[in-house]
């Protein structure tokens, strides 16, 4: 059949084994292992302080884990242990192959650069030079995330929270990353804005076939976006599986509590 067929023929993109990180005596994340293939969306849920963001920071190269390995299948080199890459190599990889969508758009945007500039910066960083093409591509993406083109030259400072978050997504996806990390991508937005953003993300992830790791405390968000789910408590992964399985038939007491405490997902 078509390209959508046969997930299994795609090799593992990221293989995480036994990753742990503690802050002094404080547990960040403990012995986390999983793998993800192209086109898969993995959700990570758990209460605040359960280690979700620590894990995400370790995976995306912003924190050095104490132990474990993170093997990433690089486009031109094949599987490489991220922890053995040099800092500049890792930064280059993050720029070309990955996207990182921060909970707070201000951490992921350049607030003093225009919306168009925010989106055009990444293609430029990886070698695009033709101004007209860059601007056209930036506008194409602004349209995709439903930002009015008349705002192309405005600074994100003048945007609403939802618009800033959509701009951050455009900035991250414009270079077609193979792996995207998202930390509470819909946090702090009101419900109707969240729904639009979710719908948008869902469409883009499917259309581009990218792998994504999404950290959130919102079970409705993972229900809609993630194929697979990991539940974390006190730094450990305590339950994992297909998203609907984990949410509809949770086995671990903590997951049952988590699912039963919310009204409806």
């Amino acid at each position: 059949m078509s390209a959508v067929r046969k997930l299994q023929q795609r090799p593992v993109l990221l293989e995480v084994s036994g990753v742990s990180k503690s802050y002094g005596g404080q547990v960040g994340c403990l012995d986390v292992s999983f793998s993800i293939r192209p086109g898969e969306v993995l959700g990570i849920v758990g209460e605040s302080g359960s280690g979700k963001s620590t894990l995400l920071a370790c995976l995306s190269g912003r924190l050095q884990p104490d132990t474990g390995s993170i093997i990433y299948d690089m486009k031109d080199r094949g599987p490489v242990d991220m922890l053995l890459l040099s800092e500049p190599e890792r930064r280059r990889l993050a720029r070309t192959d990955w996207g990182i969508v921060h909970q707070n758009p201000r951490d992921g945007l350049r607030m003093d650069v225009s919306a168009g500039g925010n989106v055009g910066e990444r293609p430029m960083a990886i070698g695009a030079r033709h101004y007209g093409n860059i601007r056209a591509e930036a506008q194409d993406w602004l349209q995709k995330v439903e930002i009015d083109l008349t705002r192309t030259d405005d600074k994100p400072r003048t945007f609403s929270g939802g618009m800033q978050q959509r701009l951050q997504i455009a900035r991250n996806l414009v270079t077609k990353p193979r792996l995207v990390f998202m930390d509470e991508p819909t946090g702090g937005l009101d419900v109707s804005v969240q729904a639009r953003l979710l719908d948008l993300l869902r469409g883009l992830v499917r259309e581009l076939g990218i792998a994504a790791i999404i950290v959130t405390h919102d079970l409705a968000v993972v229900r809609l976006l993630a194929d697979r789910l990991m539940v974390m408590q006190r730094g450990r992964v305590i339950e994992e599986g297909l998203t609907d399985q984990v949410l509809d038939d949770p086995h671990h007491p903590y997951t049952q509590l988590l699912v039963s405490s919310i009204l409806q997902v």
Binding site: M1, S2, A3, V4, R5, K6, L7, Q8, R37, E40, A195, R196, L198, D199, R202, R206, R223, L224, D227, R228, G241, L242, D244, Q245, D248, D249, H251, H252, P253, Q256, L257, S260
Partner: protein, 251 residues
Amino acid sequence: MTIIRLHARGLSKTFTLHTQGGTTLPVFEDIDLQVRSGECVCLHGPSGAGKSTLLRSLYANYKPQSGSVMVQHDGEIVDITAAEPWKVVEIRRFTIGYVSQFLRVIPRVPVLDVVAEPAITNGRSVEEAHAAARTLLTRLRIPERLWSLAPATFSGGEQQRVNIARSFIVAYPILLLDEPTASLDAENRKTVIELICEAKVRGAAVVGIFHDAEVRDAVADRLFEIRSTHREPTEIPCKPVPDLPTIEAVA
């Protein structure tokens, strides 16, 4: 000769409710169910007997304690209870369709796209998928003026018909139906009966829960009784199963 598309063997399910003092709730035990190509099996039993639980277990939505659910998928036989998540995603994409009792609404997405989506992820072109969606929505009497709206505000029966259209747009070899006609009027019930019969003719193996006797009589080849646990489930023949050719032979 017919091929067995789905075979549940030794399937047992018990819920443990940790938030309610660790109460255990045995639902069924050691179930054995084989469903052949072109056959429709109706799960039968009183409310709370575990019909929906069994159906969800066949879809890998619930995790049984023991047993296996072997399905014919893409030329091989796979145990869906033991398959890795990406494999289950693939099996649900191409092999097993499931009509739940309620439509899980995707915010903001118009009905036409909601219905077309499974066909598109299945590799059909957007035009083809939309054409098929229009045909199904018309057959199920969803007025055209609703097609561009999101189904969140639809009536129960309208949402159920959207749900049915979404699950019949792909010619799944296995179909699981949980009370697909529960909130439908007589005319629409008839359409759903037609859809199920067409699916059987093209060789689908169907497992369903049908409370409505008229629907059950029209589509079911046999009943599969689920009684409370610790008793043997029994099979009651309802109609003789015609000796259908295999899918391969038809093609």
